[in-house]
């Protein structure tokens, strides 16, 4: 007798939390498998590579601190993006918003002349405003003129990148930088405290964790959170209920852009102590945070977990470069694969596929 394997596709009414969790794990697993092919091409056993990445990013004190250092900007940008995505505002511009936050913080640190104890708080406020401004421009363009938010936020990134380049090659180029393209080092009062012997600027980390909790409460328990969810799920019903799209979108992008700006403050005041080339400031945190927010299924609390995962992956890039001599860009391939499978797996949340053995 011949056996046939058939399958049946059924619409799933609501995906439970457990289903969402396992489907997400499945997507990550699928990405690991496909990325493994690339390791094979380089003649490295994927299992061995993944073991090294895990050990290198979590198993040693140095690796762990490097991972946490990367978690900070991913966490801040990711939490902000969950809010934007909930309101169906497709903010692809966290990278630029982060850079503008960094620019604002650097400006305050170098040129404000504020006394020591006021300097860091002013940098955070400035950074928030810098990132928020960069986020509000596309928000206004969308609501007033109907411009596509994906394109405007994406393009605003390039403006921010070249603006930073211009600053560090031009007006802000530091007299003490010996011809290098960066600003002078910030005064000591503008340096964020770090956990001893590491590059973990803990105030920013604490800020990120607190904001994740606050945003979770905002989304689930407050009026503005309700408005954001209604706008995101059904904009017509929002209009019907008298919810202002302009006001809600502006608040959403104030938060999303502002948080990315805070991440920028952390990078320049906690790691580099100066404004320097855009790729040195960010390493693509703003883009990776999109995946972080998506994997968290737009839940701000879950971003704490997913940003840690991507911190591991980004540190893994260093590990495979140092230990295996492979290009760290492989990690970008991996990131791309995760997003690919994540979006692809959404279909599994809407449909239930069961396999049947038929005789």
């Amino acid at each position: 007798m011949k056996r046939r394997v058939g399958f049946k596709v059924e619409r799933r009414p609501v995906a439970s939390g457990r289903v969402v969790f396992f489907v997400s794990l499945l997507a990550i697993f699928a990405a690991l498998v496909v990325a493994g092919i690339f390791f094979r091409i380089y003649g490295v056993s994927p299992i061995h590579a993944y073991q090294l990445i895990l050990r290198g990013s979590l198993g040693s004190r140095f690796g762990l601190t490097e991972t946490v250092r990367r978690v900070i900007p991913l966490l801040l940008c990711g939490v902000g993006l969950t809010i934007a995505f909930r309101a169906l505002f497709w903010n692809i511009g966290a990278e630029g918003q982060l850079l503008m936050g960094a620019v604002a913080a650097a400006g305050v640190a170098l040129f404000s002349g504020l006394p020591g104890p006021l300097l860091l708080p002013a940098m955070f406020i400035g950074g928030f405003i810098g990132g928020a401004t960069w986020g509000l421009i596309p928000a206004i363009l969308k609501v007033m003129l109907g411009l596509n938010d994906v394109i405007t936020t994406l393009m605003m990134n390039y403006i921010a990148i070249y603006f930073v380049e211009w600053l560090i090659h031009g007006p802000w180029k530091g007299p003490t930088a010996r011809g290098f393209a960066y600003t002078d080092t910030f005064p000591r009062a503008a340096w964020l405290p770090t956990i001893y012997g590491t590059r973990i600027h803990w105030p920013t980390l604490v800020l990120g964790l607190v904001l994740a909790v606050v945003m979770y409460i905002m989304v689930t328990r407050t009026r503005i959170g309700f408005e954001i969810r209604v706008i995101g799920e059904n904009p017509d019903a929002a209009r019907f209920a008298g919810i202002s799209q302009l006001k809600t979108t502006l608040i959403v992008m104030l938060i999303s852009g502002g948080f990315a700006g805070l991440a920028g403050v952390g990078e320049v005041a906690g790691i580099h102590m100066r404004l320097l080339g855009p790729t040195n400031i960010s390493m693509g945190y703003g883009y990776t945070a999109i995946i972080v927010a998506w994997l968290a299924r737009r839940n701000p609390l879950a971003v704490i977990v997913t940003s840690l995962l991507f911190g591991v992956i980004m540190t893994g890039g260093d590990v495979i470069k140092v230990s295996l001599g492979l290009p760290f860009q492989l990690i970008n391939v991996f990131n791309g694969l995760i997003l690919f499978f994540l979006i692809g797996s959404e279909i599994l949340l809407r449909y239930k596929i069961s396999f049947l053995l038929r005789r």
Partner: protein
């Protein structure tokens, strides 16, 4: 083709399941060649599902399809078309930005290579159109056509594909009485020409008027198949619902109370920036239902939107309880206790992914007791949901259930519970029973009458003339953004309303 029994279609033991429901539970249906066969049933009876099985959109779990004596496998709509089965869906499948002829040839290989030979196709379309009296301008873009004309394009599309069997899914729901007459005579011509037509409906009049035979479905099963000539409306209603149905609603005599709404010479534009309302004036009193009759697209939706703050007027004034409310925002109208039962309940009335609990506070979440300062009070919100679900008999597992999982009737009850719980002064109800089954329709109408009894002023906009005639105290007929006249519902004649809907002004002023 020597099928002695003469059946064009035989469906045998069709079973189609969806999660939690059996939509078709062993259905047998036989349709004779050259007849109009009505498929009658309430919403959720399985009519549309069955036809989607026949049209190849759904694969049944069990059962077989026999066309002209030959068993066939309907694996896709294309397979159905190859077997000469066509379907006109309730919601048309047309591309609005393409022209009529482009829509008709879309998806077919006409001409050579990537090029379409429009000269040839145009000839064929025109000859079909002339033969069946389906005149429509071929070069016009579909979005510029009235709904009745769009339906004609759908029928032309099917005829162009040389179908023998045509499935019409609730084709009259968007038409004027005159357009319905025209459609019915078209269908007759088609049948005389040898086509077989399956006509899905839940309206008893239509069954009586158009069909040769009728099959009644209830809860996924065939209740009965009868020749139309041997049955009548009450008998069909009993078969369809499974119990007696009251056709007339008890309505107390109108008590004239104070004026709630006054509209003076109101003008407004539609979404395309063209005039939609051109000087509409009327008064509306407490304890009264004013029905607005009109063909879809003559300004009635814009009227509802202006009254609920969703659209700005360009001229004219509106007073609510003697207070000017011209161009107030949706939120302001909402705070003035104006209820709105929107036309497209799923698109506008609810947030499908959110729970019943959350949908019930969609317009009230900003006020105590549901929120204080910026924070929502979940206990009050839950209490409110519990109360509404028992008061309005909303059938759902719990108040946490997402509204998208509810049936149309229950969704409408969620909306009514939300809109009517605060005893509104003015109710703007648009198609309140559209697409609901008889049971739910009766409930919704009773709820509206109870509000009238309480003294609310109701503006009832509907394309269902029967509904307007049953519920209204007065009937306002709108055409091309102008009021053609206001009639007393008691003495109004359906023919007269039909003429006014087509643009004849009412002679002599009543009221």
């Amino acid at each position: 083709m020597d099928n002695s029994e003469g059946y064009a279609i035989e469906l045998c033991g069709i079973v189609k399941r969806f999660p939690g429901v059996v939509a078709n539970d062993g259905i047998d249906l036989k349709v004779c060649r050259g007849e109009i066969h009505c498929l009658l049933g309430e919403n959720g009876a399985g009519k549309t599902t069955l036809m989607r099985v026949l049209y190849g959109l759904y694969r049944p779990e069990e059962g077989k399809i026999i066309l002209n004596g030959q068993q066939v496998h309907m694996t896709s709509p294309r397979a159905a078309l190859n077997h000469h089965v066509g379907m006109v869906h309730q919601h048309f499948r047309l591309v609005p930005t393409l022209s009529v002829e482009e829509n008709i040839v879309l998806g077919l290989d006409e001409g050579t290579g990537p090029f379409v030979n429009f000269r040839k196709t145009r000839e064929k379309i025109s000859s079909i159109a002339n033969e069946y009296g389906l005149s429509v301008d071929l070069q016009t873009k579909v979005w510029q056509l009235a709904v009745g004309q769009q339906q004609r394009v759908e029928i032309l599309k099917a005829l162009y594909r040389e179908v023998d069997i045509l499935i019409m899914d609730e084709p009259t729901s968007v038409l004027t009485p005159q357009e319905v007459d025209q459609l019915f005579s078209t269908l007759r011509t088609l049948v005389d020409d040898g086509l077989t037509i399956i006509f899905i409906t839940h309206k008893l009049d239509e069954v009586m008027r158009v069909s040769d035979r009728v099959t009644v479905l209830r809860k996924g099963k065939v209740v009965s198949t009868l020749p139309t000539a041997e049955t009548d409306k009450p008998a069909l209603a009993r078969l369809m619902v499974g119990r007696e149905v009251i056709f007339r609603l008890e309505k107390s005599p109108l008590k004239q109370r104070e004026k709630i709404l006054e509209m003076n010479d109101l003008h407004a534009l539609n979404d395309r920036g063209l005039p939609a309302l051109r000087g509409v004036s009327f008064d509306l009193f407490g304890g009264e239902i004013l029905g607005v009759a009109g063909v879809s697209g003559n300004g009635q939706y814009e009227l509802a939107e202006v009254l609920t703050g969703l659209r700005k007027s360009t001229k004219g004034r509106v007073f609510l309880a003697k207070k000017e409310v011209t161009n107030c925002s949706a939120r302001e109208m909402n705070d003035l206790n104006v209820a709105h039962i929107p036309a497209e309940r799923i698109r506008m009335g609810i947030v499908p992914a959110l729970s019943i609990r959350e949908n019930l506070i969609l317009k009230k979440y900003r006020r105590p007791p549901f929120s204080y300062r910026e924070f929502l009070d979940n206990k009050e919100i839950e209490e409110n949901a519990r109360r509404a679900m028992s008061d309005y008999q909303i059938a759902a597992p719990s108040y946490e259930t997402p509204v998208k999982l509810l049936s149309g009737g229950n969704i409408q009850k969620v909306i009514l519970a939300r809109e009517l719980s605060e005893n509104p002064n003015l109710i703007v109800a648009v198609h309140p029973t559209y697409g609901l089954d008889i049971g739910a329709t009766e409930q919704v109408r009773q709820i509206l009458l109870a509000q009238r009894e309480r003294g609310a002023a109701t503006l009832l906009i509907s394309e269902d003339l029967e509904e307007i005639m049953t519920l209204s105290d007065r009937i306002l007929v709108i055409f091309n953004g102008e009021v053609m006249g206001i009639l007393d519902a008691e003495s109004a004649e359906i023919e007269e309303i039909g003429l006014m809907m087509a643009g004849t002004r009412h002679k002599g002023e009543e009221l």
